[in-house]
């Protein structure tokens, strides 16, 4: 396989620095929780559904505790008590609470020991449920061989979940290995998870547990027909990272977009909130063996892809470090980057190869997620189709893991069914005629590609040094990432975080941390 010479010490040094940077953040995370983290606990305990105002019950319950200022101890213990009081299932209990039929916020008069026992039991069931999804997925995957990398990843975004199923079927017929249902614009800014099947959305379809289920079922049928397991992807970024992770786990999703900084930088979500939530969401992903995709590609859509290449590398290293703190194994890290260099730049393709090669070599065990050209897509769809074709070549030639299909109408509208078909035709064509190229060519020593890869790594290392010094949060506040400035206490969702009280309890998190990494075969 074509390689650029990288100095392993420098690589190790950089990873070490990234890990130290993550440690600093982790110590903050450990002391805090958020409303959505607590809602996640309720969901995993079995609370779902909405009230007459369409407010999800998990939100209602957490809000009750907040008003009573009892949230700092976590929702788990009070809810366990309430269940003892109701003598009913979680869902029924939640409804009674909302109806005000039972007290919520204290021990409901039960001895501490009983409540702890109940919590214990709830947590075990919750974790069992997550383990169950992992096993179901493994069985399904084992029925069929793993697709050859790069995996062809297609996005669906009609806004209507049923229409999405039709499009997904079409995409899989044309060769897609993974299907992502893009969310409606700004769902990431909602401080709750919408409920039920939805048929209206802008630029995407709402991420709801019901929609997850509907699409997963559709894909299972297609999988049977096409004789290959099709992976389902959705997005956990935003104000509900952990909750969506929970819903996704329960519905056997395979992949979640999940970045430790995307929400901060690109959705102006408060950084404390994001760091707290991403941790719990990633704990769930690692237990459910949900592969995460990070969003480094976004740096390049907003700022220059050559000047800011190093931010991508640095962010990948930080995402990796933080993911490991949440026990995610390397095979579950779809670290992101993109083919976004201005096509007017001479030898732009050589830059792209250098960047792609660097990502590939820095994370040899991770399925790198490669994003297609978007920013320089033209409304001349024929020209844009050429950009994607070259992107497809760059991907297969540098052995990327997850290949997002570039769409010829990128600069115009969200993909039509035929746009996706045309895109996959190009991918299938290029992958087939150039599969062997990766093992056939060598990059010239001290050639353009080698030099460029080294330069980016140097810049990234230098940047990490800086970050370690000022600390990640402060660095973001100073606008060090893609010159986007986010203050420590600015952005959305700050109000939703709190410092854990001494008696704080979240037995699910405890259990996940206690068990740590779940060792198993890659495709489990």
């Amino acid at each position: 396989m074509a390689q650029v010479p990288l100095n392993q010490d420098q690589v190790d040094r950089s990873k070490e620095m990234a890990s130290e940077i993550a440690d600093q953040v982790q110590s903050f995370i450990a002391k805090h929780s958020s409303v959505s983290a607590e809602r996640t606990v309720l969901r995993l305990y079995g609370v779902d559904g909405v009230d007459s105002e369409k407010t999800p019950l998990p939100n209602r319950l957490v809000d009750i505790l907040r008003e009573k200022d009892r949230l700092r101890s976590g929702v788990s213990r009070c809810f366990a008590a309430a269940m003892l009081a109701s003598g009913k299932e979680a869902q029924a209990t939640a409804e009674l609470v909302v109806q005000g039929k039972i007290a919520f916020g204290g021990t409901n008069g039960f001895p501490r020991a009983d409540i702890l026992k109940k919590e214990e039991e709830l947590a075990e069931n919750a974790v069992a449920a997550i383990d169950a999804t992992r096993k179901r997925k493994r069985e399904k995957r084992e029925k069929w061989p793993l697709p050859e990398e790069p995996w062809r990843y297609i996005i669906i975004a009609t806004g209507n979940i049923y229409e999405d199923c039709v499009q997904a079927e079409s995409a899989v017929m044309a060769g897609a290995d993974m299907v992502a249902v893009i969310r409606s614009t700004a769902q990431s800014l909602l401080d709750y998870v919408p409920y039920g099947p939805t048929t209206e959305g802008f630029g995407g379809t709402f991420a709801t547990q019901a929609n997850f289920r509907i699409m997963r079922q559709a894909l299972d049928e297609i999988s049977e027909r096409e004789g290959k397991y099709v992976r389902l992807v959705n997005y956990s970024s935003g104000l509900c990272m952990a909750e969506i992770a929970a819903c996704a786990a329960l519905e056997d999703l395979d992949v979640l977009l999940n970045d430790c900084m995307y929400g901060i930088l690109f959705r102006d979500i408060n950084m404390k909130r994001t760091f707290i939530d991403q941790y719990f969401s990633r704990l769930i992903c690692s237990r459910a063996k949900i592969l995460i995709n990070t969003g480094e590609d976004n740096y390049l859509t907003t700022s220059d892809a050559i000047d800011n290449a190093y931010t991508v590398t640095a962010s990948q290293l930080i995402n990796e470090a933080m993911a490991k703190k949440a026990f995610l194994t390397e095979d579950l890290l779809g670290l992101g980057h993109a083919f976004e260099i201005d096509p007017e730049v001479e030898n732009a393709f050589l830059y792209e190869l250098a960047h792609a090669q660097l990502a590939r070599q820095l994370f040899p065990n991770s399925p790198i997620k490669y994003m297609p050209p978007t920013k320089y897509k033209s409304t001349d769809i024929f020209y844009s189709h050429c950009l994607d074709t070259m992107f497809n070549l760059a991907s297969v030639t540098t052995g990327q893991g997850i290949h997002l299909a570039g769409i010829l109408t990128e600069a115009i509208h969200t993909p039509l069914m035929q746009d996706r078909y045309q895109s996959l035709c190009s991918i299938n064509y290029v992958f087939n005629i150039a599969r062997g190229l990766v093992n056939e060519i060598r990059f010239k020593r001290d050639g353009f590609v080698a030099k460029r890869a080294q330069q980016v790594l140097d810049e990234a290392e230098h940047f990490l040094k800086e970050l370690r010094q000022v600390g990640l949060m402060e660095a973001i506040a100073q606008g060090k990432f893609a010159n986007i400035t986010r203050s420590l206490d600015g952005g959305k969702g700050l109000g939703g975080i709190f410092e854990k009280a001494s008696d704080y309890s979240n037995p699910i998190m405890e259990k996940l941390e206690e068990d740590g990494v779940i060792h198993a075969s890659t495709n489990d």
Partner: protein, 246 residues
């Protein structure tokens, strides 16, 4: 019969979305874009968006446009005369010739007119055939005479008469200014003129050919892009049996 109204599908049923690209003989600019929009509206579109415009020569502008087509079509009313003969393979066909016709059949083929494309007719007639489907030459029960390209109608007919052909295969690839239609008809007319039409099974083929059109031109059948030799063989034999019976 129940109606079945259809429209183009973009990403929602009946959204009518269609992609167009074309060139107008005007200089690029806001007015040119407006012209493109108005023109596409004349083509029965609404929500026309001229997404791209670019000067490609003095006074010529290239456009990419998306629009929502307004008309609906009743699919239930759409009919084509598809050629319906059961598709047989190499062995079945030869067998049927032996048992059904009890004699070898002979087939003459050529690309007529100034058209020099032989790959198409060769694909049908040569040993090698097409897409791992044997050509007629390989059929033990079929004698083939492939005259190649740039053959005059007269020469082709003479050959057919000379070898007592059962079927004549005419190929046309160049379609500019519909020259293929003119050539096909010329040959059909020649046969009629000489009262020989009845004597042969007459087949037309080429990348732009359809059975529909061929029949209109007075041929027994037409075959387009991707035709397999075995389809042609099956048709000829079934047709011959049909005639020998009726």
């Amino acid at each position: 019969m129940r109606q079945q109204m259809i429209k183009p599908y973009g990403d929602t049923l009946d959204d009518g979305i269609v992609q167009l690209s074309f060139t107008l003989p005007v200089e690029n600019g806001e007015r040119a874009k407006k012209a493109a929009e108005l023109y596409v509206a004349k083509l029965n579109f609404e929500n026309v968006s001229v997404v791209h415009s670019r000067k490609i020569a003095d006074n010529f502008t290239y456009f990419v446009v998306y629009g929502r087509a307004i008309p609906t079509l009743d699919y239930a009313m759409v009919q084509v005369d598809e050629l319906k003969t059961k598709q047989m393979n190499f062995y079945e066909t030869n067998e049927l010739i032996r048992t059904g016709l009890r004699r070898c059949i002979s087939v003459v083929g050529a690309t007529i007119g100034s058209d020099a494309h032989t790959v198409g007719i060769d694909a049908i007639m040569s040993m090698k055939g097409y897409n791992r489907d044997y050509g007629l030459e390989r059929y033990p029960e079929i004698n083939t005479y492939n005259m190649g390209a740039q053959v005059s109608c007269k020469a082709l007919l003479e050959k057919a008469v000379e070898v007592k052909a059962d079927a004549i295969l005419v190929s046309q690839t160049v379609t500019q200014k519909d020259i293929h239609l003119r050539n096909f008809s010329e040959f059909a007319e020649l046969l009629k003129g000489k009262n020989l039409r009845g004597r042969f099974i007459l087949l037309a083929g080429g990348p732009r050919m359809t059975n529909d059109v061929a029949v209109q031109l007075g041929y027994d059948a037409g075959f387009g892009r991707g035709t397999l030799p075995s389809q042609v063989a099956s048709f000829i034999v079934s047709k011959m049996l049909e005639r020998s019976k009726g």
